[in-house]
């Protein structure tokens, strides 16, 4: 019996090669696209999952009022918290700190710069269950100048053989922070985590780790709670510690009157709270994150798209199968008269659906693997589709096959078996108006999804172009930033002049920060209001910085060699002027005002405002521009060089040569300012590309379905078309007859899809601090595109039917 069913199924498949191909391809593409999305989503959800006791691990975050009346949430915490928590909160099982640094390593005559290094407490492995290959986890980060390497780093610096022979432990690496001894080796981390490092240095090497300042947040603190403790129960303990430690320092360093700091006031202005470790990657977007996290929103969006794609593919399958049911009606009638029972026939058609789905699934597996690498590049991930490594994939494949087979196969199967054998064999079975209403609903559903996706894609594109072309308030093109400038020593000025004498160079400037970097921040007070601290970002730059950045001064002037007093001058932006209450008279009020701040040693000093610069985006366009202050100083680690437009590659080669000739002991590292800036949007860029591609796929699949359905409909109505032509219909009449119905469906879909898409996209737009308007044209364009697509796919079949000879359709049976 089974053999019979399979034989019939395969023969049917080959009989209508065109429809079968269309159906299977549509399904395969849909399944493959969904698989890729599933791989992506699973990867996103897998962060931190490989750690032991992950549910008990938390990050200590700080919420503080920086003088602007709001609480700013910071991912970092202060140095003394860890010890204090461990001693005073028994619920803390273990606690550790780490701090990202970079190291310059010299080995023989080779220089290396490692950017993924962290200072870490000796308790690091008590919280995070990394796989320690060599060394005792409890000890390897205890002594100062201890270095723990990952396997890859060990091989990089000492070679595979040394590692294999266990000769790496005890080796010394010379760095710019001293000579370190390798005390431990970790296996390369195979999971996903927002914490990323290649090397660890013991925290005891870092003198600052012992600093007692509670109001300076420069470390990341993570802790593991004892089992069965709710973080919320610790709020009171946290508050007590803030009153015990933070308040006195606020009084001391920020001259806050102690009487003002009641427990309620404290609570409103300073808090510690715990963030679950596993939530950080997808939901945390605080100030000073370790690295840019992802966004759970995208996980939802892509999951929804995957579902959409599968739904569209299934709808196609159902539509085409039912549409062709009339051809199978005769077969059903005969089987029934020969003794077959309804349920047997249902089973037969179900099995046929499954065979179809299995074939589609096999092709889909091939497609998924084929497109995996391009998708990895697109998404910036390293996804693998290996059943042996990830057995859950097998479950997914089986699950998909079952669900799709059942879903897509059920309607046609049940529909077909209801046929009355007598009516069928007599030939008086009509294709049924009820049947076509259901089919129309399916087509409308497909087009709602497709139109929704087109609208969304156009709007995403609109926003991304806006972001990419928005004026930043400074010139980011043609600026090369050379690093390690702060260590040039006496060579600094002369090298700068050497560069400036090159024909390609316009100007060069030393600066501590360039836009897209993390700026330092510090507090300023105005002379009128001693009580209030205003936190502004700040950096140091030299006399040429304004020419590099090409920003506009709103009032006053930039630093100048003509004014020796400029060493105590400051330039602020418009937002800063407003924050300080000095924005009156178009910011003219700020000029000449003195501000009080602290210098590097913590002593009070006064600086004079000599200029107000027009706001520019020194940080990401994600957030509104914040207050910025620039001080004069040429010790910055960045040498920003503005070059004339031209072949920057050649210019770089020249720079590198000059560097190597003059400062051979420092590594030559550079970046392009415009690329650095674009990096801030890399995630959105990627999302938008992925989104566009999958939307196009969804639409493509919908078109394939529509094409097949139109073909079938035209074929079904061949006789009717012949009659109408005999009655005088022109080809135009026939084409418009056939396309009219699909046009109606597309218009209905458009009317439903538009408000839905508008509402959903409004939420997405709200996440951008700088956004363009949604406008009308994306919606109109989407409608036009949908109509064109519908006409195009349907017209081919319509025209074919319209120019056919009526005789061929009217031939007497």
């Amino acid at each position: 019996m089974l053999k019979n069913i399979i034989k019939v199924a395969l023969r049917n498949l080959f009989k209508d090669k065109f429809y079968s191909f269309l159906n299977i391809m549509g399904l395969s593409i849909g399944i493959a696209a969904s698989f890729l999305i599933v791989l992506y989503v699973v990867d996103e959800l897998s962060y931190e999952q490989s750690f032991k006791d992950k549910e008990r691990i938390y990050r200590v975050a700080t919420a503080a009022n920086f003088g602007d009346g709001q609480l700013t949430n910071i991912a970092a915490s202060s140095a003394p918290i860890a010890e204090a928590f461990k001693n005073q909160i028994p619920e803390v099982e273990s606690i550790t700190r780490f701090q990202p640094i970079s190291l310059n390593i010299t080995q023989g005559d080779k220089f290396y710069k490692e950017d993924k290094v962290m200072f870490a407490d000796s308790t690091f492995f008590g919280v995070f269950s990394y796989d320690v290959l060599e060394g005792d986890p409890g000890n390897i980060l205890a002594e100062p100048n201890s270095l723990v390497l990952t396997r890859s780093m060990a091989i990089k610096y000492f070679g595979e053989d040394a590692l294999a022979e266990g000769k790496v432990l005890g080796e010394i690496l010379k760095t710019d922070r001293g000579a370190f001894a390798v005390t431990g080796i970790l296996d390369d981390f195979s999971g996903n985590s927002h914490i990323d490092f290649d090397m660890l240095v013991s925290m005891s090497t870092n003198p600052d780790a012992l600093n007692p300042i509670w109001i300076s947040m420069n470390y990341y603190t993570y802790l593991k709670l004892i089992p069965d403790v709710e973080p919320a129960t610790l709020t009171d303990k946290f508050r007590d510690m803030i009153i015990q430690y933070v308040v006195p320092q606020v009084v001391q360093y920020m001259s806050f009157p102690e009487t003002e700091l009641t427990p309620e006031k404290v609570d409103q202005n300073f808090k510690f709270y715990l963030q679950p470790f596993t939530d950080i990657y997808l939901t945390s977007n605080l100030y000073a994150e370790f690295s840019t996290n992802s966004n759970i929103q995208y996980v939802y969006i892509f999951s929804v798209i995957a579902i959409f794609i599968i739904v569209i593919a299934c709808i196609n399958f159902m539509n085409l199968a039912t549409a062709r049911s009339a051809k199978r009606a005769k077969e059903v009638g005969i089987r029934k008269t020969l003794g077959s029972v309804s349920s047997k026939i249902t089973l037969q058609f179900m099995m046929e659906s499954f065979i179809f789905v299995i074939i589609a699934m096999l092709i889909a597996l091939g497609l998924t693997e084929a497109f995996r690498l391009p998708f990895n590049t697109l998404s910036g991930k390293n996804l693998s589709f290996n059943i042996f490594q990830n057995p859950w994939i097998l479950y997914m494949v089986t699950g998909f096959t079952l669900v799709i087979g059942l879903l897509a196969g059920s309607y046609p199967a049940f529909y077909l078996t209801k046929f009355n054998p007598v009516e069928v064999l007599k030939g008086s079975l009509s294709s049924g108006k009820k049947n076509s209403i259901f089919r129309s609903i399916l087509v409308v559903l497909q087009f709602i999804i497709s139109i929704g996706l087109i609208i969304s894609t156009l709007l995403v594109f609109k926003q991304m172009s806006y972001i990419q072309t928005k004026s930043l308030g400074f010139e980011k093109e043609n600026v090369i930033v050379l690093k390690n400038a702060s260590r040039m020593g006496e060579m600094a000025q002369s090298f700068k002049q050497l560069l400036e004498s090159q024909s390609e160079v316009a100007k060069a400037s030393f600066t501590t920060h360039v836009p897209s970097h993390s700026y330092w921040s510090t507090a300023y007070k105005t002379q009128d209001d001693e009580a209030t601290d205003h936190i502004l970002f700040y950096g140091f730059a030299d006399f040429e910085y304004d020419e590099i950045m090409d920003f506009k001064m709103k009032q006053g002037r930039y630093f100048s060699r003509d004014f020796p007093s400029d060493s105590n001058a400051v330039i602020i932006n418009e937002v800063a002027a407003f924050t300080l209450g000095l924005s009156g008279n178009d910011c003219q009020d700020a000029i000449g005002k003195k501000l009080e701040t602290l210098n590097f040693t913590g002593e009070r000093m006064a600086v004079e405002v000599i200029g107000v610069v027009e706001d520019y985006h020194f940080k990401s366009l994600h957030i509104p521009i914040e207050g910025l202050s620039i001080r004069l100083g040429s010790f910055g680690d960045n040498l920003a060089v503005r070059v004339h437009p031209g072949n920057h590659r050649e210019t770089l080669v020249k720079f590198e040569q000059l560097w190597k000739e003059n400062i051979p002991n420092l590594p030559f590292e550079y970046s392009f300012l415009d690329e650095d800036y674009a990096q801030m949007f890399i995630k959105e860029s990627r999302m938008s590309s992925i989104f566009t591609i999958f939307s196009i796929l969804a639409i493509l699949i919908a078109c394939m379905g529509l094409f097949g359905l139109a073909a079938y409909t035209a074929e079904q109505r061949t006789k009717e078309i012949g009659i109408r032509k005999a009655m005088g219909a022109s080809s135009k009449n026939v084409v418009s007859l056939l396309t009219r119905e699909f046009t109606k469906l597309v218009i209905i879909s458009f009317v439903i899809a538009t408000p839905l898409a508008w509402y959903l996209m409004k939420q997405w737009f709200a996440a951008f601090a700088y956004r363009t308007s949604m406008g009308v044209w994306p919606f109109v364009l989407a409608g036009v595109i949908a109509l064109l697509i519908a006409w195009f796919t349907v017209s081919y079949q319509s025209i074919k039917a319209a120019i056919a000879n009526p005789v061929d359709s009217l031939r007497n049976e």
Binding site: K433, G722, I723, R724, K725, A726, M727, G728, V807
Partner: protein
């Protein structure tokens, strides 16, 4: 009004070539009632289709009125066909999704006749065929005889010069068949030229001239001495 000279029609299907018509030369004057007879497969329907401009000949000449339509393409044939020729088929060929009224109205729609005029013409013909009470019904709800009457109504609603009927009584019982033939006779007496394909000698007796076909060729032509009244 129509004349064919040495008409030939060859059908190609994959590897098989069938010559359906070979050297057909006939002439039909205005107002005639011509019956084309012959056994199954002799090419009657093929000839009718070509005469009705539903198909084109492979060779030979065909003059329809003043037009030489021998090598016309489908579009050109459609233009000439519209409004000039009415068809009555053996299996009625009504559109199931349209009502009786809408089926009859169809040719007028394609002639771009104004709605008010259309209504008048359809109602008139509904009355003439005695089916006015069936206007809003669907073909499936009618008996065979009624369906054929609807088909005839559709064929005459635009007052064509020529009506082509292909085995009009083939699917009907004798009483209904009789009725249909009387209708056709009436139309002819009122001035409409009729060419009818049949293999019923009884039906053929209504015509005033009988052309016999055999294997794609005309074998005899005779004037019907006894007109059926």
């Amino acid at each position: 009004m129509i004349e064919t000279k040495k008409l030939k029609k060859v059908f190609q299907t994959d590897e098989v070539e069938t010559t359906a018509l070979n050297d057909i030369s006939v002439k039909v004057e205005k107002g005639e009632f011509v019956a084309i007879m012959g056994p199954s497969g002799c090419g009657k329907s093929t000839l009718l289709n070509i005469l009705g401009l539903l198909d084109g000949p492979s060779d030979g000449a065909y003059e329809f009125g003043e037009n030489d339509v021998s090598r016309s393409n489908e579009r050109q044939r459609a233009i000439i066909r519209k409004g000039s020729i009415g068809f009555v088929f053996q299996s009625f060929n009504l559109i199931d999704e349209l009502t009786v009224y809408e089926n009859i109205e169809l040719p007028l729609l394609y002639l771009k006749i104004k709605p008010a005029d259309r209504k008048k013409m359809v109602n008139e013909v509904l009355g003439r065929m005695n089916i006015d009470h069936r206007g809003s019904h669907y073909p499936q709800q009618l008996s065979g005889g009624q369906q054929q009457r609807v088909a005839i109504a559709r064929a005459v609603v635009s007052n064509p010069d020529l009506i082509l009927a292909d085995e009009p009584t083939g699917n009907l019982d004798s009483a209904n068949g009789e009725e249909v033939m009387s209708l056709l006779k009436e139309l002819n007496q009122a001035g409409t030229t009729i060419i009818m394909v049949t293999h019923s000698p009884h039906d053929a007796s209504y015509a005033n001239r009988i052309i016999n076909l055999f294997d794609g060729k005309v074998v005899t032509e005779k004037i019907n001495q006894e007109f059926h009244i």
